[in-house]
């Protein structure tokens, strides 16, 4: 269980990256979605003890992130956004080094590293220097670290950014097989839909929605999304695209007006809750 109360992070006098987050995360996989700058990475960094909050508190499995930092670090793994492997080291060496830092013996680390790399289909590259790997492969090295660590709670900050669809599915499959609690951030709504038990939508440093996908999409029941480039009837305007949420009875009318009609999915939650002029 992750409990967050009034968590704030101030970077300068007037700029708050987090403006007071209150959340209780008790499901196995929770995805945090939101625009760039919404505060997702700041939240993950605070929870994984890389960054101190300015106000508020959070506990992970009962351990306070500020008071019981050592305990928290023993039970979590966190893969930073934009992390890149050290070029001269091979995936095997990097994963092994990470596991040794997590307290594994050298033998256990080798075994777990090999298995994790195998699971992510990186067996053939496990001894190649990382600077010879593709961008997606480099990202998978970090996913392998998280998998191999077998930590109680795993934070993955945009784990599949830059991966091809097949590699992304391999990561999804690995995440699904994990017994750990996983908190991940993503910009891919299909990923959130595929993996999450619960979803948290962040906007401008606040958690604006939290719940299961069904709960969050409940307000869109029996609705469709109509969208048209340059349309004049809209609920939300994204760039030049007019988006209007309509009842099923209005579908024909909007089709005649030249709108495309789409089924509701997590994109719509993101569009309505995660888009603000400030962010």
């Amino acid at each position: 269980m992750i409990e967050i109360e009034g968590l704030k992070k101030r970077y300068s006098r007037n700029f708050y990256a987090l403006k007071g987050i209150d959340l209780n995360i008790d499901r196995r996989v929770t995805t945090i979605i939101g625009r760039n700058g919404a505060g997702k990475t700041t939240l993950i960094r605070i929870l994984s003890t890389q960054l101190s909050p300015s106000e508020g508190r959070a506990t992970i499995e009962g351990y306070d992130i500020m008071k019981d930092t050592r305990k928290v670090r023993e039970i979590i793994s966190s893969i930073p956004q934009e992390a890149q492997p050290i070029g001269i080291l091979s995936p095997m060496e990097q994963v092994k080094l990470y596991l040794i830092a997590k307290g594994f013996s050298a033998q256990q680390a080798s075994k777990a590293a090999r298995e994790a790399l195998e699971e992510l289909d990186m067996d053939n590259f496990r001894n190649s220097p990382s600077d010879t790997l593709s961008g997606g492969m480099k990202r998978k090295v970090f996913v392998a670290m998280a998998l191999a660590s077998n930590s109680e709670v795993i934070f993955l900050d945009e784990p599949t950014t830059g991966l091809d669809p097949l590699s992304r599915m391999e990561v999804w499959s690995a995440v699904k097989r994990l017994k750990s609690k996983v908190i991940l951030t993503t910009h891919y709504m299909e990923e959130a839909q595929e993996l999450s038990d619960t979803v948290c939508v962040m906007d401008s440093g606040k958690a604006v929605s939290y719940g299961t996908i069904q709960e969050l999409l409940k307000s869109y029941e029996n609705m469709m999304r109509a969208e048209k480039m340059g349309g004049t009837v809209y609920d939300i305007m994204v760039g030049n695209i007019a988006i209007k949420y309509i009842g099923k009875s209005d579908v024909d009318k909007f089709l005649q007006m030249g709108y495309d009609i789409k089924n509701i999915n997590l994109d719509d939650l993101f569009l309505s809750k995660g888009v603000s002029l400030e962010s």
């Binding site: 890389q50 893969i79 001269i88 670290m145």
Partner: protein, 249 residues
């Protein structure tokens, strides 16, 4: 004192040795050009000093090479430390693990020492060949080189911690590497300098180290003040390096 012993006792030696070996040895194995680059300046200066002094200052250039290889490799570590923290987020990766900033810093520092080993061995062979070493000088040389490694690598951590962006780090370390290793009396007798300049140059721990090495090997008289300066600077930079590492921001 007890606190320091506790910190040493708690060091994660397994992680430190793996990190030092992986990052120190594999650069030599997989990126030999870095090794050649790190040796090129001291070897060039050895050649020039020997030619210009008709061989009279070869002992100084050899001792200078020892210090300069370690110091320049350690100061270049600022680029690594900044790169790991700001660019590729390796530091962030290790923060939520069982290791402490001391383990991380020690691992990186030792990796520079491992990376410097071929140069140290080369200079040791040349020193033995030119008969500049005595049996009694071995321990003081080792201690002085350890002090240089610790102090200069902590200067690197301070630089890496102060920087907010990665873009200037290579320029800064390139300048510092030259200023810290060539300007002090590493490749020439410290007696060539007026004493007040020598003390100003002692801001860099490379200066007291070079002066002491020249004294230990009987090339020049020992200035005992330099022992205290080197010890104080090593402790001060160790303390400051720990402060600036920005482990949990």
């Amino acid at each position: 004192m007890t606190y320091s012993f506790q910190r040493v006792y708690r060091l994660n030696l397994k992680y430190i040795s793996y990190f030092a070996w992986y990052y120190g040895f594999y650069i030599i194995k997989r990126g030999p050009s870095y090794l050649i680059a790190s040796l090129s300046l001291p070897l060039t200066l050895l050649f020039m000093v020997t030619i210009l002094s008709h061989g009279a200052l070869i002992s100084y250039a050899l001792i200078g090479g020892f210090v300069s290889i370690i110091a320049s490799n350690c100061i270049n570590g600022a680029a690594d430390a900044a790169f790991f923290r700001l660019q590729i987020k390796i530091q962030d990766l290790f923060v939520p693990t069982r290791i402490t900033p001391d383990d991380y810093m020690m691992g990186l520092t030792l990796s520079y020492l491992v990376f410097s080993l071929p140069g140290i061995i080369l200079y040791a062979i040349l020193g033995i060949y030119f008969k500049i070493f005595t049996f009694g000088s071995i321990l003081p040389i080792i201690l002085i080189l350890i002090a240089v490694t610790v102090s200069v690598s902590n200067i690197a951590f301070i630089i890496a911690g102060v920087l907010k962006h990665i873009r200037n780090v290579w320029g800064i370390t390139a300048v510092l590497s030259i200023v810290m290793t060539v300007l002090p009396p590493t490749f020439y007798p410290y007696t060539f300098l007026p004493k007040w300049i020598l003390y100003i140059l002692s801001i860099s721990p490379v200066t007291p180290a070079a002066v002491l090495l020249q004294g230990v090997l009987g090339l020049e008289p020992i200035i005992w003040d330099m022992v205290y300066i080197l010890i104080l600077e090593t402790l001060a930079f160790l303390f400051l390096g720990r402060k600036f590492i920005r482990w949990r921001e």
